[in-house]
């Protein structure tokens, strides 16, 4: 094995064990940020030791034992054997004696611990960016550098975000408990937002961007699966997973050989991942069975499902899509949702109907810098034969476009107007 192979093997073993490390240590120390640090220490120890002694037969147990030793050292050194931790003094001695016996950790309720971890990382006290970084770190085991590359920000920025987030959590004296019942449902919203943020960050990536960016979709999907397995009665968790699986299913069809984006309606549907679509539709079904029909993520998943179910672009049930956007709009007043509804309405009822909606929202402040407003307008105008207006709209869209690919797509549309 090369040094690089060994490094990869150590990292892989640590990532698999990491959630249990953090949750066990959190229980010992009643401090999640500290637990995370000690879990990192265990990784450092492995990186030093295993290249010399070889990867142990039971890497998880080695890491757990190392981490627990560090935790006990910390408790001793930090003089936390004060009254409030008097409860721990007894366990402490027992732990010391029982150190070789690591199998106790196998009795953990993995689900409960993961729940605690994910709800801590995504605590509403933290900004979504901070929560995303912390979740990727603590649950997915990404390094600071990987997270930074994924979000296209300097490593120092992510470092600071994580440090501040952990400080916020420590200082807030968060009760160390697992949210349940109503509290869980309420807190779930912040968790879902964070996971969705991570997914979208990766989803908008294109070829030529760091490969960590599409990898973010996989991490978000993983987090989504974790959520539904530990909170199986939450319809919106299934809804979000459905939304992510269904969107991710088009990954292979979304860009062409030159790395340029292909619009959904123009994609070769044979390249869609049908197993993933099936999983997405199953998740959607579970969400609906749980009564999640009108939920924010469920509605969005329903919309994407309309596309996923259509064998060809022409077979898309646009009336249904338009109706779903209407429900979504009623739930969340958003000019961007209205813009998408305009597209669906134009497909179902003709370009004039879509244009009428566009004209109504054209003045919205949120849309003034959104290139798809003139972009969609240009498309509808072109279909109506209003070519000069269409070209002007596409050119305006190109000006507003935020990245090279969107800009060149709009420029191409402008050129292709007859």
């Amino acid at each position: 094995m090369t040094a690089a192979d060994i490094h990869a093997a150590i990292l892989a073993a640590w990532r698999i064990e990491q959630p249990r490390l953090i949750t066990s240590l959190s229980r010992m120390l009643r401090d999640v940020p500290l637990a995370e640090e000690l879990a990192q220490d265990a990784l450092v120890a492995a990186l030093e030791d295993w290249p010399k002694s070889g990867v142990p037969d039971r890497p998880g147990a080695w890491l757990m034992a190392t981490a627990k030793r560090r935790a006990l050292d910390h408790l001793r050194r930090a003089k936390m054997l004060a009254r409030k931790h008097g409860m721990l003094a007894l366990d402490f001695e027992q732990e010391e004696q029982a150190m070789p016996d690591i199998d106790g950790s196998l009795d953990d309720d993995i689900g409960d611990e993961m729940l605690r971890l994910i709800f801590t990382a995504c605590h509403p006290l933290l900004s979504r960016d901070a929560a995303a970084a912390l979740a990727l770190r603590m649950i997915c085991g990404l390094t600071t550098e990987e997270i930074a590359r994924a979000f296209l920000v300097p490593e120092a920025t992510i470092s600071q975000r994580i440090v501040r987030a952990k400080r916020t959590l420590s200082e807030s004296g968060l009760a160390y408990e697992t949210p349940r019942g109503e509290a869980l449902s309420e807190r779930l919203a912040s968790v879902l937002e964070v996971v969705y943020l991570i997914f979208n960050e990766g989803y908008t990536a294109s070829r030529g961007d760091d490969w960590m960016r599409p990898q973010l979709c996989q991490e978000a999907l993983r987090l989504g699966r974790v959520l539904v397995s530990i909170a199986p009665m939450e319809a919106e968790a299934h809804g979000l997973l459905a939304l992510m699986e269904l969107n991710a299913s088009r990954a292979a069809a979304r860009i062409d050989a030159d790395g340029e984006p292909i619009l959904l309606l123009e994609q070769d549907r044979r390249r869609w991942d049908f197993l993933q679509i099936r999983r997405g539709l199953q998740a959607l079904g579970r969400a609906q069975a749980l009564g999640g029909e009108g939920g924010f993520y469920v509605l969005q998943a329903e919309i994407i499902a309309c596309h996923a179910r259509a064998e060809t672009a022409e077979a898309t049930n646009w009336r249904r899509v338009a109706g779903l956007y209407e429900k979504l709009s009623a739930r969340v007043a958003s000019p961007i949702i209205e813009l998408n509804r305009a597209v669906a309405v134009s497909m179902a009822e003709g370009p004039e109907a879509g244009l009428a909606i566009i004209d109504r929202i054209a003045g919205e402040p949120a849309l003034q810098t959104y290139h798809l407003l003139p972009g969609v307008r240009g498309d509808l105008l072109q279909k109506l034969g209003r070519h000069d207006e269409a070209r002007a709209a596409f050119e305006a869209a190109a000006q507003l476009a935020g990245n090279r690919r969107d800009r060149s797509l709009m420029q191409r549309r402008a050129r292709e107007v007859p």
């Binding site: 990292l11 990532r15 196998l106 993961m114 490969w211 996989q218 699966r225 974790v226 991942d273």
Partner: protein, 133 residues
């Protein structure tokens, strides 16, 4: 990267020991709850299935073939792993459980990347551009 993992053994499993069952159950639960395992299935013995083979230029159907001393596949699981190192790490844990709880049993866990999910068939390297898939 999507992987299929299959366990192959020439020793029929007499029946996993209760300790092995429990340990495998916990591992499976962890793999599902961590979002890594996306599908799994047990394969019933070949006696309940069939072989459709080409032999001597002809099709031959054997219902419920009885095969002796051949390698038997007991089941499969499909994972979304970050990379091959993660696949190997998980498989090592899985097989170590067999060593620990059913000593004397021998078998192989075969890991196969599934083509098209970040994997290029030609060079076997994970390729970031889906255009190559």
């Amino acid at each position: 990267m999507r992987f299929m993992s299959i366990v192959i053994s020439s020793q029929p499993m007499q029946g996993p020991t209760p300790a092995l069952m429990e340990a495998m159950g916990k591992l499976t639960e962890r793999e599902i709850k961590s979002g890594r395992m996306v599908d799994m299935g047990g394969l019933a013995p070949l006696q309940q299935g069939a072989h459709v083979a080409i032999q001597g230029g002809r099709l031959r159907v054997t219902d419920g073939p009885f095969v002796e001393a051949k390698e038997v596949i007991g089941g499969y699981a499909i994972f979304e792993f970050r990379d091959k190192a993660e696949a190997v790490a998980m498989a090592k844990e899985f097989m170590q459980l067999h060593l620990d709880h059913m000593p004397g049993w021998e078998g192989t866990c075969e890991l196969r990347p599934m083509v098209g999910h970040g994997v290029d068939m030609k060079c076997g390297e994970a390729v970031q551009s889906p255009a190559h898939a």
